[in-house]
Point group: C2
Chain length 237, copies 2
């Protein structure tokens, strides 16, 4: 493939750029210690994340009107607090814990790899996370995006084609001039169907040490790299 | 006013952050020298800018469907090329000249002032320029935005209230937690009407040395500063 065709890279964020599981577990433990709540916070994190897909599907299928991720995270959180029998949190504490998703920590190679890639390409998020979440996360973690793009701007969640095509259009580019970077093969296949290029950066630890992730890449992907640093090298930066 | 209420600053861009007149004049002269076109490029720049408001009004009033600034700039450019009797430019040359708006140079205090302000506030554009234009401009000029917000995201041009309210909403903030920063009093008055705070940073040279700009500030504005550096100092950064 001719790399000079690629003008912009769009990134999945949760799992691809940031390690949501460790971050949510850490913030849960901190809250638990402060408030004397004894639960397995890594399982809590897994449950919170597991509620995310189904809640987005309710939006994608029209069962819910457009609802952004902050609000969906909060719906799932409220259910989990009940399920885990956690009571007595103030509204402020619940809101702050919900905003833990704005403070997720990057994988070790994320900031350095993005900083290299930014020299040559326009770098944008293309996440189901809402604009405020992605903006606050970038500020907190030092992620050097050129532009924050989000499903929220299109009122469609990935993998709806409106998200990939909408991102290319806002960047003033043809779909084939944009490459989606993600740890999730489904996201990349949908991006390719919309005409984007695809780089697979598997994150085998995304779901913790117990859960195995199939990282065998779809042969249709344009690039497969083990880190953003390796991707930068492959792209000649 | 309690500065701690302000969480984000949204910036008008053309004229407030960047000096469109000098930049367009410079690029016009370069094109003119390359192609042997002898016109007064600063007047050409003024005419190009003068066509911008009326073309946006046609969109705001529904005479044109939603059309982004790249396309409006191009409509005005094509009219001006005819008016000035400039012929023989290739499509590539015209497109490149139109994209001079993606390469506008910042005022001398813009990058340093924004860099200081970014330490404390979320910084976003809130411009009628389209997302690609603002993203490319930031990359080219080193403008350290946290987030690119544009009229294009709301399909409404400033001063429609949808732009100011939409920006606050995407940032996850109340209108009163956002302060609009602009060199144009009309923009600031409209932002205040929508509930935002307002900082006036007059740019007396925006329209060149011949045209006087009334920089007497509306007493309703929350801050008046002569540069982004001075604004940073006023805001305690």
């Amino acid at each position: 493939m001719d790399i000079s065709e690629i003008k912009a890279l769009t990134f999945d964020v949760f799992g691809t750029v940031v390690d949501w599981r460790s971050s949510i577990t850490r913030e849960g433990r901190r809250l638990g210690e402060a408030r004397g709540i004894d639960v397995d916070w890594s399982t809590f994190a897994d449950d919170w994340r597991a509620g995310y897909g189904p809640s987005m599907s309710r939006v994608r299928e029209g069962e819910l009107p457009w609802t952004n991720i902050d609000a969906l995270h909060r719906m799932v959180l409220d259910e989990l607090l009940e399920k885990y029998g956690i009571t007595g949190l103030t509204e402020e504490e619940k809101d702050d814990f919900n905003k833990a998703w704005h403070r997720l920590a990057p994988w070790p190679d994320s900031v350095s790899g993005l900083t290299r890639l930014k020299k040559r390409f326009v770098l944008a998020t293309l996440s189901n996370g809402n604009v405020a979440l992605l903006t606050n996360m970038a500020k907190n973690a030092g992620l050097p995006w050129d532009c924050i793009l989000s499903a929220e701007l299109f009122k469609h969640y990935k993998p709806d084609p409106e998200t990939y095509l909408g991102a290319a259009s806002l960047l003033g580019l043809e779909p084939g001039e944009v490459m989606m970077v993600a740890a999730h093969q489904n996201d990349l296949r949908s991006a390719q169907k919309a005409g984007l290029k695809a780089a697979f950066v598997p994150r085998p630890d995304e779901f913790g040490p117990q859960r195995e992730v199939d990282t065998t890449p779809d042969p249709a992907f344009d690039f497969v790299a083990s880190s953003f640093e390796e991707l930068a090298t492959m792209l000649g930066v």
